[in-house]
Structures are given as structure tokens and as C-alpha cells.
Amino acid sequence: MRRIGRLLLYVLLAALAVLTLAPIVWMVSASFMPAGQSSAFPPPFFPRAVTFEHYERLFTGIRLARYLFNSAFLALSVTAISLAVNSMAGYAFAKYRFRGRDRLFRLLIASMVIPSQVTMLPLFLMLNKMGLINTYLGVIIPGIAGIFGIFLIRQFALSIPDSLIEAARMDGASDFRIYWSLVLPLCKPVLVTLAIFTFMGTWNDFLWPLIVMTDDSMYTLPVALANLSLEHVQDTELMMAGAVMTVAPVLVLFASVQRYYISGIMAGSLKE
């Protein structure tokens, strides 16, 4: 009875794994099928003959390299900038005493319920006046600082013993030096987590780059893919290759740093 129960559990778990992975596996498989093969009944799951023609076409006919560069450049820039800005603020909220600190922090946390869509119209007008529509800076600007990032770093920095910071101060270290050579190295786990979050979030983001990037050469991968998929409805295999190129970098990143990513979600869900 007990063994049957266990077996049943494994069967259920395996079935769920198949369901979650099947669309991803099929995407990869279909991207290697000769054009038109996937449009058949019953739908084939494996390529009749493996072909790279769709990937070739993406890099020659369609400017995929350009979109890849745009996505990578934007994701890396936002990650680097926001990490610097958020870590300074998170550290200050955790370890400095000043008037109104807790109220300010609570205000920031409370404003996390404001959906970013509310800011998009005025932000667009603002960037338009500044001539930043269709520029990298236009996409980067709303990502410079993030309340969630500040929160995450503050929570972590709270655990740094005050005595450590005081000792460094006694030794004559400046405030910036303490932040740079003592606090940042200690915060490494949370910084790595936040970096992964930010990189993936920016890479996968759709609505804001769709609004800001008006010229084809500035599109990020998701924006380019959405547009292509509306034009090339019939080219299933080509679109699957495009989807693979969009998803692969984040999936590989996730696979290599899974531990940090998952612990970050758990940390973000803990209450103060």
C-alpha cells in the first residue's frame, strides 16, 4: 500500500515535469526541423532531418545579432548601474541613523504596490522632451534604482555586525572605503542574487522597450520576436529558432546560478 503510494507520487511528479518541459523541448526540436515540417498532422516531435537553416536566416536575413547585442547591452548596463545605486542605498538604510529613516523606508516599501504602468505615460513624455526616445538610455533610466533591490540589500546588510564597521572606522577608514572594501564583499551573496534578478528581468522585459524603441535597429530580442511572430505567422520553425535564441541565454544563466536565484526568491518572501 505504502509502496504503491510512493510509486504514484513519482508518476505524478514525472508527469508534471513532462508537462512543464514539453513546450520548451518542442521549441528546441522544432527549430531544427526543415521549413514546413511542423505543420503536419499528427504534429512531429522530432526533426526529420536536423537543419540549421533557420538559425542562419536569423543571423543573415534578420538582424538577430543586433537584437542580441541590444538585449545584452541593456541587461548588463541596468544590472551594473542598479547594483551600485541600490547597494549604497540599502547599506545606508541598514547601518546609518538619521532622522526620518524608518519613515522614508516604509514609504518606499508601501509604494511598491504602484504598478510601473502608471509611470509609463509621463516617463515617455519626459524622455521625449529630453530626446531619449529610441535610445539605450531611455530603456535604462527607469531601471537605475529599484525599491525591491534596496529592500533586499538592506535586509542582508542588517546582519553585518556594527562592531566590524566601528573597528574599520577606528582604523581611520572613510565611509566610502568601509562601504567599498568591507560591506560590499560581505554582501556578495545578496549582490549576486540581485544581479541575476535584474539581468533576467531586464532581458525578459517587454512593454517598456516596446514603447521606447521605435526603430527596428534598437529592438531588444522580445520586441523583435513579437514583431516577427506577427509577420511570419506561417514560418513556425523560424520563429522557434528565434524563441530559442531569446530564451537560451537566460535559461543557461539560470542553470548555472540556480542556487542564488532560488535563495533570492525565498529571501524576498520573508517578512521583516
Partner: protein
């Protein structure tokens, strides 16, 4: 004193960026929602005039707004609880101590979460293909008739919900796993000594102890589901017959396609009002349960 100056310098970049690129636009959007800002005003702001509550009144009389609101709630009310239920189910299934390959299963369930929404929406469009899609093929094996998933007004939203649950459930599953791990083992032992069976233990220990986690998940899921956009944009363009048009989609069309920015700002604030009300409601529930 030097101390305070350092704190100020550390905070300045973040507060400046958040102030100018977040709080200021929120206030500006509020003002914008009381103007008739349109494509003419885009060239010269002076063309925009205050119109009071006109945009909000117009929204209430716009059948498309009601349709979008209805669709968004359909997505939220059907998709949210379904997604949470699947997350909890998966977390519970991964709990037994004897279980092997735990990591492997967890990674498999989580993989869709990190994928790019636009890319997997393109993939699912073919999964739902009426003639060559895998889903209809599987249905045909069971002797069921083919459904035009994304073309039939009755099925388009359920299809989007199914895809969203597939994409998202892994995220909440991780939070549930953390919540389950935080329940002290003694509680189960005490319940077992009192003669509680497995199901009884689940009802009187697991569920109440998971209540705070569930409220947290409820809030973040609701906020996320209210912002439905990329799925209909890629899979259905809001159709068929506007059955997958969401609030954010309508906001995008009004604001960035037709440049009715005043009208669009009013929509954005209605979205905000719903999200705020939903968050407050759930936080209240959390307090009332004393968790």
C-alpha cells in the same frame, strides 16, 4: 555629523532616480488623467486642457473598458487561484523526506519561470494551433474534437490562463517550499500524538501555518495577473472579439497607439486603484487571522 553627510551621499543617487523617474511620473500621471492630452499636445503641451473627471466619466461609458475589465478579472479570478493551487500541490508533492531527485523535479518545474514571456507565448501559439497543434492532437487521441483555442471567443482566455499557470506556478512553488520548511517538526509530532492522521495534520497544522505565506503569494500573484499584457499581445492581439483585451493592453493602445494619453492615464489609475484595494484587502485578512 559627518555620519549624516555620508548617509545622504549614499542615498542620493537612489532617491534622486526614484524621485524623478518614479514618484514624479506617478504624480504627473495623476494630473494627466484630468486632461485631454492627445497627439496634438504631444507636439506642444499647451494644447492639453484640464477636463476634470471627463476621462473617468468617458471610461465608465466605454464598452471596451468594461470588456477589458471583465477579461482582466476573468484572468485574475480563474488564473490566480488555479496557479496558487498548482504551486501548493507541487510544493506538497516535493515535501516527503524519502523523495529522491527532488532538485531535478524542482528545476524542471521552475524552468518556465525564467523563460522570456514573449518567446514562450510564441511557442504556445503553435501548441494551440487548431490543425497542427500538439494540444488538439492529444485531444484527438482521447477522441475529443479539435478546438480553435485562440480563435474561439470562449476558449481564448482559458488558453491564455493555462499558459500563464504553466509559466508562473514554479515561482510560488518555491515560496511555498520555503514556507513549508519553516513549519517546526514538533507541531506535526504533537498532532500525531493527539491521534491526528495525515489529512488531519494537513488541515490543522500545515494550512494554518502556511496562511501568511499564502497571503503574501496571493498579493504578488494578484499584482502580477492584473498586469496581463504580453500574452494577448503576442497570441491573440486582444481578440477574438476583444475577449482577451486586458486593462494594460487597452492602456497601451489608447496611450501609445492612438496617443490618447489623458484617457490612458485614467485607465492606469484605475488599474492602480484595483491593485491597491486588492493589496489592502489581503493585508487586512492577514491581520484578522492573527498571522
Amino acid at each position: 555629523m559627518a555620519n549624516r553627510r555620508a548617509a545622504f551621499l549614499f542615498l542620493a543617487p537612489a532617491l534622486l532616480a526614484i524621485g524623478v523617474f518614479f514618484f514624479l511620473p506617478v504624480l504627473a500621471a495623476f494630473v494627466l488623467s484630468f486632461t485631454d492630452f492627445d497627439i496634438y499636445a504631444l507636439g506642444n503641451f499647451a494644447y492639453a486642457r484640464f477636463v476634470g473627471l471627463h476621462n473617468y466619466a468617458q471610461l465608465l461609458g466605454d464598452p471596451l473598458f468594461w470588456q477589458a475589465l471583465k477579461n482582466t478579472f476573468y484572468f485574475l479570478v480563474a488564473g490566480g487561484p488555479l496557479s496558487i493551487a498548482v504551486s501548493l500541490g507541487a510544493a506538497l508533492m516535493l515535501q516527503p523526506k524519502f523523495l529522491r531527485f527532488k532538485q531535478l523535479f524542482r528545476t524542471a518545474y521552475f524552468a518556465p519561470v525564467v523563460t522570456t514571456l514573449v518567446a514562450v507565448a510564441v511557442v504556445w501559439r503553435f501548441v494551440y494551433h487548431p490543425r497542427f497543434g500538439i494540444l488538439n492532437y492529444l485531444l484527438s487521441l482521447a477522441g475529443l474534437g479539435g478546438i480553435d483555442w485562440l480563435g474561439d471567443p470562449h476558449w481564448a482566455m482559458p488558453a491564455i490562463i493555462l499558459m500563464a499557470v504553466w509559466k508562473n506556478f514554479g515561482y510560488n512553488m518555491i515560496i511555498f517550499i520555503a514556507g513549508l520548511q519553516a513549519i517546526p517538526g514538533e507541531l506535526y509530532e504533537a498532532a500525531a500524538i493527539d491521534g491526528a492522521g495525515r489529512f488531519q495534520q494537513f488541515r490543522s497544522v500545515t494550512l494554518p501555518m502556511l496562511a501568511p505565506t499564502t497571503v503574501f503569494i496571493g498579493i504578488i500573484t494578484m499584482i502580477g495577473y492584473f498586469q496581463l499584457f504580453a500574452e494577448p499581445y503576442v497570441m491573440t492581439q486582444g481578440g477574438p472579439r476583444n475577449t482577451t483585451l486586458s486593462i494594460v493592453y487597452l492602456m497601451y493602445q489608447q496611450g501609445f497607439r492612438w496617443w490618447n494619453m489623458g484617457y490612458s492615464a485614467a485607465l492606469a489609475f484605475i488599474l492602480f486603484a484595483f491593485i491597491l484595494a486588492g493589496s489592502v484587502l489581503q493585508a487586512r485578512m492577514q491581520k484578522r487571522w492573527g498571522v
